[in-house]
Symmetry: D4
Amino acid sequence: MDASSLRVLIEQVAAGGCTPDEAVRQLRRLPFTDLGFARVDLHRELRLGMPEAVYGPGKTPEHCAAVVEELLGGTDGPVLLTRATEAQVKAASAAAASLGLGPGAISESGAFSTVVFRPAPQRPGTVVVVTAGTADLPVATECAAVLGALGFAPTLLADCGVAGLHRLLAEVDTIAMADAVVVIAGMEGALASVVGGLTPAPVVAVPTSTGYGAALEGVTALLTMLSACSSGITVVGIDNGYGAACAIARLLP
Amino acid sequence: MDASSLRVLIEQVAAGGCTPDEAVRQLRRLPFTDLGFARVDLHRELRLGMPEAVYGPGKTPEHCAAVVEELLGGTDGPVLLTRATEAQVKAASAAAASLGLGPGAISESGAFSTVVFRPAPQRPGTVVVVTAGTADLPVATECAAVLGALGFAPTLLADCGVAGLHRLLAEVDTIAMADAVVVIAGMEGALASVVGGLTPAPVVAVPTSTGYGAALEGVTALLTMLSACSSGITVVGIDNGYGAACAIARLLP
Amino acid sequence: MDASSLRVLIEQVAAGGCTPDEAVRQLRRLPFTDLGFARVDLHRELRLGMPEAVYGPGKTPEHCAAVVEELLGGTDGPVLLTRATEAQVKAASAAAASLGLGPGAISESGAFSTVVFRPAPQRPGTVVVVTAGTADLPVATECAAVLGALGFAPTLLADCGVAGLHRLLAEVDTIAMADAVVVIAGMEGALASVVGGLTPAPVVAVPTSTGYGAALEGVTALLTMLSACSSGITVVGIDNGYGAACAIARLLP
Amino acid sequence: MDASSLRVLIEQVAAGGCTPDEAVRQLRRLPFTDLGFARVDLHRELRLGMPEAVYGPGKTPEHCAAVVEELLGGTDGPVLLTRATEAQVKAASAAAASLGLGPGAISESGAFSTVVFRPAPQRPGTVVVVTAGTADLPVATECAAVLGALGFAPTLLADCGVAGLHRLLAEVDTIAMADAVVVIAGMEGALASVVGGLTPAPVVAVPTSTGYGAALEGVTALLTMLSACSSGITVVGIDNGYGAACAIARLLP
Amino acid sequence: MDASSLRVLIEQVAAGGCTPDEAVRQLRRLPFTDLGFARVDLHRELRLGMPEAVYGPGKTPEHCAAVVEELLGGTDGPVLLTRATEAQVKAASAAAASLGLGPGAISESGAFSTVVFRPAPQRPGTVVVVTAGTADLPVATECAAVLGALGFAPTLLADCGVAGLHRLLAEVDTIAMADAVVVIAGMEGALASVVGGLTPAPVVAVPTSTGYGAALEGVTALLTMLSACSSGITVVGIDNGYGAACAIARLLP
Amino acid sequence: MDASSLRVLIEQVAAGGCTPDEAVRQLRRLPFTDLGFARVDLHRELRLGMPEAVYGPGKTPEHCAAVVEELLGGTDGPVLLTRATEAQVKAASAAAASLGLGPGAISESGAFSTVVFRPAPQRPGTVVVVTAGTADLPVATECAAVLGALGFAPTLLADCGVAGLHRLLAEVDTIAMADAVVVIAGMEGALASVVGGLTPAPVVAVPTSTGYGAALEGVTALLTMLSACSSGITVVGIDNGYGAACAIARLLP
Amino acid sequence: MDASSLRVLIEQVAAGGCTPDEAVRQLRRLPFTDLGFARVDLHRELRLGMPEAVYGPGKTPEHCAAVVEELLGGTDGPVLLTRATEAQVKAASAAAASLGLGPGAISESGAFSTVVFRPAPQRPGTVVVVTAGTADLPVATECAAVLGALGFAPTLLADCGVAGLHRLLAEVDTIAMADAVVVIAGMEGALASVVGGLTPAPVVAVPTSTGYGAALEGVTALLTMLSACSSGITVVGIDNGYGAACAIARLLP
Amino acid sequence: MDASSLRVLIEQVAAGGCTPDEAVRQLRRLPFTDLGFARVDLHRELRLGMPEAVYGPGKTPEHCAAVVEELLGGTDGPVLLTRATEAQVKAASAAAASLGLGPGAISESGAFSTVVFRPAPQRPGTVVVVTAGTADLPVATECAAVLGALGFAPTLLADCGVAGLHRLLAEVDTIAMADAVVVIAGMEGALASVVGGLTPAPVVAVPTSTGYGAALEGVTALLTMLSACSSGITVVGIDNGYGAACAIARLLP
């Protein structure tokens, strides 16, 4: 809980504008709505500069619809649904429609979709998303969609893997001028090391679960990126394009 | 084998109330029924204060029905079927019906069901089941259903993950007043450490297999919970809501 | 943070007995002492019914001495130092002496020692600690020493591994009458399953890192215990005798 | 290659009964038939006392049929097909029919079947197959079917897991009198240690892939069995009921 | 516990030759001696045809001496100490001397020793121990020493790895005529598969922790042996020469 | 980027035959075509003596068709599509037809196909592909198809596993006379060690994901091959028949 | 290689200010000095805004001295030596002295030292380094020393683990006002999730290798941090305090 | 065993130049000398074009001396000792001296030495050994020493890691003109992918055990290299510089 709001509340109590019982109740109830199966964090955007995304897996379509509706109605910030099935998208869009809102912008990422019901205002930073291969596109698509929901207009550079270095070197200006770079790579994940050696900007690396048997469903790329010889690269979880976008939102204004 | 019953039997032999051959036969045959494919432990409730649950996976519907029937007929204790498919539920319910009993209370946990054919008498302890996210609900549902079968009336607090600490702090009284807490969390499983720091009661942690790639199907949460910096937390296997409920039954009267 | 003390403080502010600034300062400063390299949790015993043990590894002898001194002076509860080297024991004992206290009761656990500077008052529960082999004794010794510090007088049954079941069956009464059992086993860890089938009491299993190559430094026993076919067994981390003792303290009065 | 037959051949050459070219050709061609996709080892039964079983996975139904036909026609020993799909069984049975033979004895093991087209003559040894749970039955069924094909008449004791030791102790005579015991267990695999402590006979342990998440698809039981505290237990691969049966065939007359 | 001795005791009770209290006491006390830190299984040789070896690691020299002394005095069977340090050997030898016995036959296995204080009578079976390389000799030495203690006179064939097949083929007669073969190999462990294809006798494979990085301290050889394409090979734990010897003792008369 | 072409370009600039702007543009644009979702490396065959194969997984049928079309139109070298689904094959064949070319030679490898739209000219080297079992054929088929596309006419020796060494020894001349050998084996992968001991030629080993549980989806065979006791064997990723073929293309003229 | 400098060089060639041969030589030789055993990247600070740190492990003291000397003489940027032994520090300090420079500021991190021979100019960003326990201090010390070398004056908050949440909440203002936060935690690593939920600033998490057995030398904390439920946390390698400092340097001005 | 020599021998038998008994004895005894603890493969150089190197670990100094002496006396080919301790080098050199030969050329590789007692004649191929960092030099030194023993004069390019691509690009001609390249890299191992994209020559990659925690003692680099996006790279075991040199000897004339 945020210290300054705690102090304000205590000062109200001291000033008589709020009874102690009321204060405790406020402290307990304000920042979220309890839907029974979920506690919707209405306060997250304020506290973290990032909305609570609705993560599809493990939720019924009804769960998704209820949380989306709560966020659209209870906050002013961006609202998005990630890793959603067709049924979840449909239910959440109906919920949006019941509030008089449109169905949201849908990006397909492999078998799942990312839906942006309400994006954040535009933000100035230049973000470049680089992928090693075409097979990394689903993760890149999710990442770009979330970056869009957070106010960025990312540039996507697909298929720049190090097996043909010239394909990457051709984009060296774009990469060098970016305020932040997301590198998305499966197989051996070497692209992160090479990009890290080409730019002084923050590099967030996303290992993907693409590749033959020894790629171990992304573990190989993950370990590669964590051990990268280029200093200062940071890493998020396997296939976690959403997390990379959020990391960018933390580090750019 | 239980020492006191051994002594009773030996005393009967000494007193002439039982021949040696009969004693050996009794020692061998009493506590279970051999159905060929299964040895139903009719004695488990007496010995361990816990019934032998019928675990669905790997059994045919006929297997399930036969064991449920044997337990309903051969014991007075609670009878439940876990991780059951629709076909297994149907067959077991028919078996119950053939004994003039109802179909049991069904709780759905993801693709499987927990069915309570005969619950234990009510028990007094206050048990709280906390989940980190909505995706942990299937495991929590199994855990709550088994707790119910064992005589408890657990309180379920869903979606209290540490990404929004205030959602958890809002329930601090409920948690602090519990006689035992089950923490169910996937992803990084940090909730167990935080809850362990808030209550002096026993905390049983259940890692779940939810989360992105690096969650490694629950291994990450499992390791987190085993390494928790809050002292005295204990852990059961991944997704093992059933085991957590049994652990509670061992430690509360 | 504990909800009832928050309410008391807020009521004092409302009643004028405390200024808002003072309230925030109290909320922040009360429960620990910041030694720079460590924040000694003076409040833990009250909150969790368990003292903050001083964990030796990674601390200099001076660190250990300072924290022990702070806890002896700043609390009334039990004070103990775990996994300590000879130099750490010496420094901490000197700190105790500077407060006019004795050197503490030392238990040797392999290369390390557990030192109890001030134990808790006696507690009534009957705790049995069972080990599978002689090689598990260092972990059992730490566990027993911590149980002693927490007020228990545990019974230690050494070398009851399942390779000779009669060694275990000979103790069946002792195990069956215990209020709680700690099972400590390396190699294949099967003892936990067998003990779990003999008693209705809570069973806390501690995997140890003893055994040949395929014991994988305790991982085998850990996995065995997590997968135990006896229901309701809970597990703590590898070689974590301290954690098992704390778990017992949570579940017995 | 077998040294004594090499010597015989060389003596024939020395004696003029065979030209050098012919000898080399014989050395090369005798013991198998090359079907292009497979080299059928017609000599294996003679050399190893065990037939070459036709392992279904990765073979088309036509492959299976051709190898079964070759073995039925080209050897006098037992012929069996393992881990076969329905289509493979059908094709192989048709091949047997084309030689005027019956369809073979089919045992279902989960999704797959074991088919014995021609069994070995009866052998005298007493083999006991013990399983920990009902879920281990598919592996036990394959093991028993292969033992049958190899001439044994195994006794199957199902569901003797250590959670209820009395179920196992009831069979202690059967186990103690066996010439060899196969222990089949998933979950934590502790049964192997306990059985190993009850009998002086050879114990072959088969880990199975049954159990909750931390059973790690059989790896937990495998590690348990390899680390068993009962001396002299040997282990085969996960779910490898076939291999256990062959191991028995090696060690009994 | 052994069923026939149970029956004898019960018959004594029935016949009045033994009071019930005495029977229970006998059942509990007969087969082992409790030294406090260890329960020496005096009955193991009778029950399993194999002595309880004293395993050095984790025991103090005094522990070793006390157990060796108990076994020498309390049984007639073979007595051996494994994986012992120099200090443990010295203490145990002194204990033997105190009983008027010699210091035992010492075999050095790398950093540790195997000491046979009293061997079993000679047994007839022909056992061959084959190693892949010279680096596997320490494990082979332990295995051979334990086989000797159990009454066998094994033949050791060192350095027969498959990189030079002719070195192995040169011993094909020795291998083919053995009653049982122990294959000891590190690195990739392929020797087990090849030997398994050359002999119908039982093959017990011991993976060793020798080899470069990807040998993973024996895990590679272990997995290789468990997956061997030659049917019926069984495996013991990594570096477990002792276990292999015991397995042989189980399967040969 | 290739140093000699860099020098040529710089000399053209110095000689006035090319403006600096043009030089930079050429350096950036020449060697690939950016299709948006993929950067087709038209230059790879020249630079590496190997074409860029179109790897099916993760690409839509339209992606495959577009890249195949670009390569057929934009290069003179071999063009092939690997791990393709039926839909991908169909789309790519239609693209080839739109250029007036035939549908390509299709090899089926399990669930996927390898399609060679334009092979390289014939190359002289003798390549032998040996498999351990019939289940390794899908990987071998892909390897052979790619070798064909690269100009080789490989000899395939199927089912030569070491369980029947004579099956392998029968082919010893073929193996000894090869310029390079590819060994393809799952299960325990021992074949690579044995072949490595029979030939002085380069041996490229491909672990496959065939085999029972402890084969760990190819990891066992991979580790075996990396630890092979025969010196100088090299390894590619699990099931990577394509990579093995490319490795051969690098080492033969 | 940086595109704009390539263009400048090509324009010089076009303008006659540089011959083609000279251009190629410059392209090759400028940015590093080849010391035979190392290629010192004199250009890294310019290109990446970060110096090439001299990483001690695997280098002789002479190696360290030579590279430090080369960097001090050949660049104007910060120069630092990490993970250095006493001998390496001594040799490098002598090298600095030979250039008339002082011995550098030494920070001890467990067994190793970080030495800053020449720091960067001060930078304005507020960086907070939080550790979960005292045992994480060596990694935190390295991180803080490198941050100092890069121009920052970090605030270190030690021992704020989640077992006593109030210790962390007391610092909530400091954390909320930071421009970037480094979270350093071993054991279960839950601190990263909690801090990530308290601040909108970038959070770089460093798992450490502290903790009991199931902490798996840092792997548990690593997986926890990668799976953190708080969005947008990024992670560096285990114990990599250096990498975290470099990541901060990338994302703050 | 080699087929053509088998035929020659059989023809001698047929021609009367050799008795059958003698033939069998020759077949068995010719190609190696049995020293009891080792079977020295005198025939390996002829058969595989590579000598049997004496691998130090696990051998006593006397073992090393005896095998070196046997090889120097019994063959004409190169003789080398790898991974040798100082004592082993001393003993082997004394053995060489006893044959009137010099002490061999010693290369130090970390804690071990490679000693070449007799090198092969010079061979024409151009071999380049590239390392990613200075810490990889011990493995590179062993590799270069073995290449030297096998007749090559390799070029060593140290410290060319991808964090500063220009360091690698400066050597692009040397790499492009090589007949074969060995890439030696720890940490994330990305260098192999990049080199593989720059040259059409065979690339043998050696992962090393250097790097921070997440490098997992070389496993990360190993997985990276196996998953390399540049086609046709082959890999040897972790730190196996010896194996890479042998692989080169197989593929170059």
